[in-house]
């Protein structure tokens, strides 16, 4: 009979599990760089704050996956990946954001239109359950349907189901070239429809920014396609407002834009539905009964990030 095949947890990961502790040690939450605490709701009082291990544990370029501590900053991870011309398209606004923080808050990057959501990047998570055991969700392979998809449940759970200590992420080849361009006063949906696979299309009600990535000749071809619509200027890309985020059906952009413009500065991700705002966006007011049932089953004493997500 075969025994379970596991990497031995690093001493940093073991120390993290000890720090999370068993139920007798009370409520606990993990703090990353603190860049996204305006989302996900208010944490209860008297919750112990800990930090996750940091550093890249293993990177094999021909595997196109990377293992790192959840406390690793995006910048540090990206530097390692860039050395092999790879990237992990989480693309946070602040490069000091930690990988665990981005995943816990479910923060997808601005290139989601082409490269997918944060939840599609997590292949394995080493996390702690309510009893204080180190558990593994997923596996260090790019395709896996063994049992329930606990990885996707953890992404965006704001730490309410179990603190994440270490992760394995899917990487991608870094594009040879990235180029932003901008068009004024044009329908963003029509612009997207003209292009094969833009990495990102952003709209602030007046300007449309387009991020084209790949090989130079293809990018030039796409820019020429855009020129049929109007004047195309090169750009360094907009800086995204960071105070709030709305999730909107992209079909509602045109109707909602006038109201947003009255509120302040905003930039919407065309074809995705995320709207970055310079005002604080409202928090959710209640969890669904099914979410409460999941929370009750997995964290019956509410010791993990209590209050977040109204759970």
């Amino acid at each position: 009979m075969v025994t379970l095949q596991r990497l031995k947890p690093s001493s940093a990961l073991r120390a993290f599990v000890d720090e999370v502790g068993d139920p007798s040690t009370g409520a606990v939450t993990v703090l990353g760089a603190g860049n996204h605490w305006q989302y996900g709701g208010e944490l209860d009082r008297d919750v112990r704050v800990i930090r996750a291990p940091s550093g890249v544990v293993q990177f094999e370029p021909s595997e196109m996956i990377v293992r790192c501590g959840a406390g690793t900053s995006y910048q540090e991870l990206n530097n390692v990946l860039a050395s092999a011309n790879q990237c992990c398209p989480l693309d946070p606004v602040s490069p000091d954001s930690t990988i665990g923080g981005l995943l816990a808050a479910g923060m997808s990057g601005h290139r989601r239109l082409r490269f997918g959501a944060a939840r599609d990047l997590l292949l394995e998570a080493q996390f702690v359950d309510a009893n204080g055991h180190l558990l593994r969700a997923g596996a260090p392979v790019v395709k896996n349907v063994s049992g329930y998809d606990v990885c996707r449940l953890l992404v965006g759970s704001f730490g309410t189901l179990g603190p994440i200590g270490e992760v394995v992420l899917r990487c991608r080849p870094a594009p040879e070239l990235s180029r932003w361009c901008v068009i004024e006063h044009h329908d963003p949906v029509a612009i997207r429809a003209r292009l094969f696979q833009p990495s990102c299309v952003l709209w602030d009600g007046a300007r449309v920014w387009i991020l084209l990535e790949g090989y130079q000749a293809d990018i030039e071809h796409e820019i020429n396609t855009l020129r049929a619509l109007g004047a195309v200027d090169s750009s360094s890309g907009p800086s995204l407002p960071t105070r709030g985020r709305l999730a909107v059906d992209p079909n509602e952009f045109a109707d909602l834009a006038p109201e947003w413009t009255k509120r302040g500065k905003w930039i919407a991700e065309v074809g995705v539905g995320t709207v970055h705002t310079d005002w604080q966006t409202p928090r959710r007011t209640a969890a669904t009964p099914l979410e409460r049932s999941i929370k009750h089953q997995l964290d019956p004493t509410r010791r993990f990030s209590p209050g977040r997500l109204e759970l």
Binding site: G116, K143, V145, D149, H296
Partner: protein
């Protein structure tokens, strides 16, 4: 009122099947797992009818098993414990297409390939493409989080589903996900996908459609050995290319397929890689050149590039009809599905061949090499005395080999019944207990698809005892499987 009369009170009685011969039709899936008999079969046509079935099953304290096209390969829709079987094949409408946002709203019984066909004229397609895509349904794809050759770059089903209207095991209906990205709260949508019918029934689905690439280059590289072809896979990835598809066929498979498909495959090769890149002109041209170089450097003896859409279609026909072709060799087969890290492919593939030889079995390999997703196919004649035991023993050894290489039990077929009792080889008791509690959150009475996915008694000591038995639930049937 008895169960069947109660179901017929709201459903057209001709769609509530209870005759033994009718029930027999729904007793198995496309795997070789022992069939079981449903109590009654309901061919539903709407979310309301699904809800009626679930509520009626609750009233009569009956389990429920949902079934799409029945093409599953892990026994997921085999009806255990005499359940009410809810069949979604009649809910096969494409409800709407949003061209601007590139989404489609579909019913669960819509066939995978039909969706792509319906939107092809818009320059769009649905990316996940299981080999059974002509006959498998989108609802079934959600149940298994199905993959396919083109999921290497595009991602599996979960990455392409925005929203699902679900009838929960409680009989309530709920929308998971939505057209807005990441609605506040837990990603219950992501949890439901791949739950193999144990967390409720999908009644309406919103999927993402992808633009169809203007340029496609399909290449067939021939290698003297499986090891060299495996090294070719690593060389392509290491060259910084993530092809849209990267498939391997070994010598046994090439010979079987060529007799059937006449695609001009090199029957003297030890293995071939079928590699496809798509996109814009410069990228596909550049990357196909790099792929050719990487393959030649890894020992390829030839690299053939499809010169026309017809030639490309023929190569894909060869790949996707592989399972049909094996009937020429032996009448029965056992198809495995496991995943290993891509860099372990060469060693594991040699191990698979060694295991087959040790058990005096013929093995064919046709699989998603770029994902490290193996599909060793053990072919045999069930009439040969003692062969079933050898097939099971070899299958178990292959699963153990893949797990020992740091892999996973299933890449796309799911756990179902087939691998349920192997879950303890991949997960600890505490991890299985976590998964069991997650299931309980959806279905505390374990009404939906009972005895699937998780070993019975997971989280308790009895799990480890179950491991010592060989496929206790997966006996080979007399009939062959069609994929």
């Amino acid at each position: 009122m008895d169960l069947i009369s109660d179901l017929r009170a709201h459903l057209d009685p001709t769609r509530v099947l209870s005759h033994p011969i009718e029930r027999l039709m729904y007793s198995r899936d496309a795997s070789t797992i022992t069939p079981a008999s449903p109590e009654v079969v309901c061919l539903v046509t709407s979310a309301e009818e699904i809800q009626h079935c679930v509520q009626t099953a609750i009233r009569h304290d009956h389990p429920i098993t949902t079934r799409g096209s029945g093409t599953g390969l892990a026994g997921g829709s085999v009806p255990l414990n005499s359940p009410v079987v809810v069949v979604t094949t009649k809910m096969n409408r494409l409800l709407s297409i949003d061209v601007d946002q590139r989404t489609a709203e579909v019913e669960p019984g819509l066939l995978n390939l039909d969706l792509s066909r319906h939107v092809a004229h818009l320059g769009l397609h649905y990316a996940p493409d299981p080999s059974s895509q002509q006959s498998c349904s989108i609802g079934g794809n959600i149940a298994t989080n199905a993959g396919g050759p083109h999921c290497l770059n595009a991602g599996v089903t979960s990455a392409h589903v925005l929203a699902i209207d679900v009838i929960l095991p409680s009989g309530e209906s709920l929308t998971l996900g939505g057209s807005a990205p990441d609605p506040d709260g837990l990603d219950v949508r992501g949890t439901f996908i791949g739950s193999e019918g144990t967390m409720g029934i999908a009644a309406r689905i919103v999927v993402r459609l992808m633009p169809t690439a203007p340029f496609v280059v399909t290449q067939l590289a021939a290698f003297p050995t499986i090891r060299q072809a495996s090294e070719g896979v690593s060389a392509i990835i290491a060259a910084g290319i993530l092809p849209s598809a990267l498939e391997m066929m070994d010598a046994n498979c090439i010979v079987a397929v060529e007799q059937f498909a006449h695609a001009g495959l090199p029957t003297d090769a030890g293995a071939v890689l079928l590699v496809e890149v798509d996109g814009l002109y410069a990228g596909t041209t550049h990357e196909s050149t790099l792929i050719e170089q990487a393959c030649l450097a890894a020992g390829a003896t030839s690299v053939r590039t499809a010169q026309s859409p017809d030639e490309r279609a023929l190569l894909w026909k060869a790949r996707k009809s592989a399972f049909g072709a094996i009937a020429n060799i032996k009448p029965n087969y056992y198809l495995h599905d496991a995943v290993v890290p891509r860099t372990k492919l060469a060693d594991v593939m040699e191990g698979v061949v060694r295991i087959a030889t040790e058990h005096e079995l013929i093995v064919l390999n046709v699989f998603h090499a770029g994902d490290g997703n193996l599909h060793p196919l053990l072919v045999f004649d069930k009439r040969e005395p003692g062969i079933e035991a050898r097939v099971h023993a070899a299958g178990k050894a292959i699963v153990e080999l893949c797990l020992a290489a740091g892999g996973a039990l299933s890449g796309e077929h799911g756990i179902g019944l087939e691998k349920r009792d192997y879950m303890g080889l991949m997960f600890t008791d505490a991890e299985l207990d976590f998964q069991r509690r997650l299931r309980n959150a959806f279905d505390p009475d374990v009404r939906c698809n009972p005895e699937k996915v998780l070993p019975i008694g997971s989280g308790c000591g009895e799990v480890s005892q179950l491991h010592s038995t060989d496929f206790p639930s997966a006996h080979i049937t007399d009939t062959g499987a069609w994929i």
